[in-house]
Symmetry: C2
């Protein structure tokens, strides 16, 4: 089944869901019912009645009944005024509102909604005359289609959850109930997906984050502003170090910039006009300075570049900064580490000559490849190019050369890739990295982004070999992206069983009794003497000692609950034989103490 | 000469300065003329006339004339209404305003000025009746005194600078000219001080910060928000690492908290009521959250402590975070790195039982001692205790025990100390560290601060051995204080000749000609193989190569301008002999290549 067919199937299921709800609750008023990843939803206003998961079997039974009828999906059109009458007569005020908006403003209606999902039969900018409907059995819905031919063609589905959703996403509008379902061509695919969701639930980083003491949230500090405990901070720091070390090897240099700035900086960069309402504003009570929290770091970095004259011999100049940006996300959208208001980026900016693009991209791709391969995630990249449309800034020849250099770097790094025209930013082409996790989900992670515009806006220059002023190209890159979001992915990817090198507590020594404490000191000496050099340099072993007067079974259970990668169990026999019992996820084995360091280095 | 005598001398010189100005510009209107560190100033309104340094010889000549008359300073009193008449008749509107304020509000007048400096003859809260004046020759000034007996007794002085100053520090008031002078008992002391000022000018971190490419400021980003270049970031990072490593050795753990918070956090901590108007306020455009940038980190850290139950066995819990705080300083007060709006603190908080205070303080003092001894600064500490006054929170027995533990730790660390009653914060006693720089200036740096109050306000607890809930004590400590301010001190202390371990560019290889390039690779291999372990662990050698086709003289001059601690000069003879010529501030010497690593480790 191809993507269009799957889309039609899921969209048809949205209609069938609404039809089922209407049978059960004839006063139901409907909003919109689009297709989403793996399924669909429908927004429904049932007045005082609240749907819960307990109602799902009843709704699904009704849906199966409708499917069983085997009605065709029939398309028909009517003039928009007649459609408005239809909505009014059928007590569908939300549909009526959409139709009125559509009539008033043509296709630019409902910028807050995806018009194509509304299924309005309207093309281009012409005035709207007719709108289309789809009918299956006695259920009629305003819709652009397409749908499957018959209700029997909808594959396997399951209602998944219901959540509140404001009409048109606006908190001032009525709250509706958004009923989500998943749907696939076959029951087998559906079962796989449900199994994956079950797995995802077990791996939920919010649960593991609490159980493994990685981060906390405080009502006094606020939503979307997680605080990292000692264990979580080790994860943050090691990944940031790793990401930095990879690039420091390619001549990057660390810089530091403050988290706030006068908004003048963003007026110059152009961000203020585009994203001004997504910023946290900062008010000085002492001065009239108009300021904001930085949502990205490039404008700050241009100011370091601009602080001295630069020559072609100095290029590329490569700045690296792991720093926290702040974005004013709606609190309703905040959850765990996935979407936060304080996002720490392992950000870097290269200022280079146009002929240096490929070599620089090469270094960045090699860094990304190594990082994601270290944590066992497959990478796939999208090359986003310009198309023939207007609005792309920078000379065509620069675009052509840059796009060719991006592709050459991707090919020479043997990365799995696909190309998309028209997906570039207006200021330059880019490479997006998608990483697949242990349960098959794909996450957008690193990006490499060319920028032909910002250097000019800030008047950045270098002197070329002939003594002329030239404008550098900028290359934005974050390997982890947001460290918070990366950790949410990493925790779920590993289910909290972190690889040895990055585990906050790598080793726990469990004593069987206190006659071995002198021998424990010898074991500690081995651990104290060991510093891992891969993948991160200067990574000292983090271990603890559980020498409580408790049973070994209890000690092992606790260490396992904490998902400590290596438990070293020490009893009298180990002491006598100068051995340790090493217990990991893959079992238990005896090691000579003098083999321990080598063993740990290979984990 | 004791401090009171010196104070009287400097204050008398303020009068003499005003008298001289009045002779030269009879229409001069006078504000206040207090004593400040090392000297005095007088605020003067000369209308359109601007004093510049070019006028100083003329004013000083006039002052010497007045001193030469040998007039006594004569004290007399008059009723306040008569004093107001005197001010009006003498066209002294600023004095008139002060006297009117004083009459209206008694001693609570002029909260913006130090009344004792105004020399008003007023005691306690009683209504003001008489005010005192001092007269020398024909110059009369409203003044509390005391003064020296005779104008001849004023020691050695020099006018130093003139700057604009708003009347009573308020931007809405007229701008006056503040004429500063320095004064000492003897010419020798004055000369020493002037020499120190000259030295300080040469070492000015704002000049060196630019010359050595350490930081920059951008008008687009704003005042007091320095951006650190690669070289400056190396200094920041190494000092932060050092400060962290010292404490990590004592069981501290790194944590991470966001830079913003809902103001609820500070309402609970009590900071909002006390310092609410010194915060940068943060406005969300998406939500109604009332937020602020954090000006300190303790309230955030309490939330990590509070995220899990704690037992007496877990204590002390020690959090460490190097993070940037934001304080809404007036832009007029911002200069270089000394006073910034973005201040990065190497902050730490211990949560401990009362019986653990001494051991914890001991560790922190040992850390501070090692850090400042490494950079050759002498430390002196002030022990600030409570007195019998009201307003100290926490039980007296806790204070007594804590103060005794602080002192014991200071004594056992053999630190030079003095004690001051009544200097404690209301929430606990503290230790302030003063460090003396290479030209004799003393800077307040680290602090260790006990806190009996915040843990209770946040309801922090631990379970004691009997299972009862107890409130921990908090110990705040920053070793560097603000890293920005620390760097301003450090740059001036070293005059930019940074010690080898921390120099951003530690080694520069200078080639004499290009026949030695293969040998340079051998030298590089030595440098690449060397990682310093003291004072900071894992400190890789930072070197560059100057192999330009320029004269050795030019290369040496440039490297010296950059204050590179080690220049390695490589010529054919060095290559032939497997040697390097090592050039440092203390001269040049030949070394065998295989001795180089050991030599550098000992620097």
């Amino acid at each position: 089944m191809n993507d269009e067919q799957l889309h039609a199937m899921r969209h048809s299921l949205a209609h069938i869901t609404a039809a089922a709800v209407q049978r059960l609750w004839p006063d139901a008023k409907f909003g919109v019912g689009p297709v989403v990843d793996n399924g669909f939803y429908y927004d429904i206003d049932l007045g005082e009645i609240k749907i819960s998961e307990a109602n799902f079997p009843k709704i699904e039974k009704e849906m199966r009944g409708i499917i069983g009828y085997g009605d065709d999906f029939e398309r028909f059109e009517m003039p928009i005024d007649q459609a408005i009458d239809w909505a009014r007569e059928n007590h569908q005020p939300y549909k009526e509102e959409l139709l009125n908006d559509l009539k008033r403003s043509g296709t630019t209606v409902a910028k807050d909604l995806d018009v194509s999902e509304l299924g309005l039969a309207t093309d281009g900018d012409s005035a709207v005359e007719n709108v289309s409907f789809y009918k299956n059995g006695n259920f009629v819905d305003l819709c652009r289609g397409p749908h499957v031919a018959n209700t029997k063609d909808v594959g396997a589905f399951k209602l998944l959850r219901v959540a509140g959703a404001y009409w048109r996403g606006n908190e001032k509008n009525p709250q509706m109930q958004r009923l989500y379902g998943v749907a696939f061509a076959t029951q087998e695919e559906l079962d796989q997906h449900l199994e994956m969701l079950e797995q995802a639930k077990l791996r939920d980083h919010r649960r593991l984050g609490k159980e493994l003491d990685i981060y906390t949230v405080s009502q006094l500090v606020g939503a979307g502003l997680p605080l990292f405990t000692p264990r979580g901070t080790i994860l943050r720091d090691l990944f940031a170090s790793y990401s930095n070390q990879l690039r420091l090897g390619f001549g990057f240099q660390k810089v530091w910039t403050p988290h706030i700035t006068k908004t003048d900086l963003y007026e110059t960069s152009g961000h203020w006009a585009k994203f001004g309402d997504e910023l946290f504003l900062v008010t000085s009570q002492e001065t009239d300075d108009k300021m904001a929290l930085k949502p990205m770091n490039c404008p700050h970095h241009t100011q370091i570049y601009a602080s001295r004259p630069r020559s072609y011999r100095d290029m590329p100049i490569r700045y690296l900064e792991t720093t926290t940006d702040y974005r004013d996300e709606k609190t309703g959208e905040l959850g765990g580490l996935n979407r936060v208001r304080s996002l720490t980026q392992d950000d870097s900016h290269v200022f280079c000559r146009p002929d240096q693009i490929e070599a620089e991209i090469n270094n960045l791709l090699a860094s990304a490849r190594e990082l994601y391969s270290t944590i066992d995630m497959n990478l796939r990249v999208r090359l986003s190019y310009r198309d023939d449309g207007d609005g792309y800034l920078g000379e065509q020849s620069l675009w052509d050369s840059a796009q060719a250099q991006l592709k050459a770097a991707v090919v020479s790094n043997k990365l799995d890739y696909f190309e998309q025209d028209g997906e570039a930013a207006f200021y330059g082409p880019k490479i997006d990295f998608m990483a697949t996790d242990a349960i098959g989900r794909e996450h957008q992670v690193a990006t490499v982004q060319l920028d032909f515009v910002q250097p000019g806006r800030f008047g950045l220059q270098y002197t070329d070999a002939e003594g002329n002023a030239q404008t550098p190209v900028m290359i934005h890159c974050a390997l982890l992206g947001s460290i918070e979001r990366f950790l949410s992915v990493f925790i779920e990817h590993t289910a909290g069983w972190f690889p040895f090198w990055v585990a906050p507590e790598q080793v726990r020594i469990l004593t069987i009794n206190d006659t071995v404490l002198d021998y424990v000191d010898e074991v500690k000496a081995v651990l104290n003497g060991l510093t891992l050099m891969k993948p991160v340099k200067y990574n000292e072993i983090r271990y603890t000692l559980d020498d409580r007067n408790e049973s070994l079974g209890k000690k092992i259970r606790e260490a396992t609950t904490w998902k400590i990668p290596v438990q070293l169990i020490i009893g009298q026999q180990d002491k006598d034989n100068q051995e340790v019992s090493v217990r990991t996820q893959s079992g238990e084995e005896k090691l000579k103490l003098d083999e321990l360091a080598t063993y740990l280095q290979k984990l």
